[in-house]
Symmetry: C2
Subunit: 119 residues, 2 copies
């Protein structure tokens, strides 16, 4: 984060304001209540449906399925079904998915350095 200068700011303020551009594109992927958390969870390696569910605080199966499908379509993660009994389904980040770690890391740092103001 500390390479930070103002070239960063310049890029941020640059042209390409409004839809279709960098930030907006990212927001489409990291959208909703769960996407970012799912990616963080998978950064530690592939996980099964049930593992993910409990690690995230048990969202409903429908919700988790929906979000996983969305991320799969956006090629952020892959879904692998092992034809066994009982079935086993494993989710893993793609290269693109893993490349989101820089954003997650920036979020982590900011969050740690800016605790909630006391009310």
């Amino acid at each position: 984060m500390e390479i930070n200068g103002d070239e960063q700011l310049d890029r941020l303020l640059g042209p390409c304001h409004s839809p279709g551009c960098g930030v907006d594109r990212t927001l489409k992927v990291l959208d909703g209540k769960w996407a970012t958390l799912i990616v963080r969870e998978l950064l530690s390696g592939p996980k099964r449906f049930g593992e993910l569910r409990s690690a995230l605080g048990t969202p409903s199966a429908k919700t988790l399925t929906d979000r996983l499908r969305s991320l799969e379509h956006q090629q952020i993660l892959t879904r692998t079904v092992y034809a066994e009994v009982p079935p086993r389904v494993v989710y893993a980040l793609t290269e693109q998915g893993r490349s989101l770690s820089g954003i997650l890391y920036a979020m982590l740092i900011w969050g740690e350095e800016h605790p909630l103001p006391e009310d």
Copy 2:
């Protein structure tokens, strides 16, 4: 972004999983459809209500007011009213608000490097 190593990953995978922690804290601030875009807009300097509204693509006044109030309460931005006729209200990022630029920048880079897969 390129200091990136795996110390980053280690931090991300570290303890403090689940609520209350870094990433989660940030997600509470950069929540919903507008917060991130408002911050980006204000990185180029203080702006009036109307300026913000049109720059963002004209969300409803209610929506924009709600989001601005929320960010104000979280001390991401300040609201200054100039008692003139017609009234002038200026929104500006606080130090905390400006410190979000690292995250925005990471989003910008990722978005530019990962265009939508063609369908």
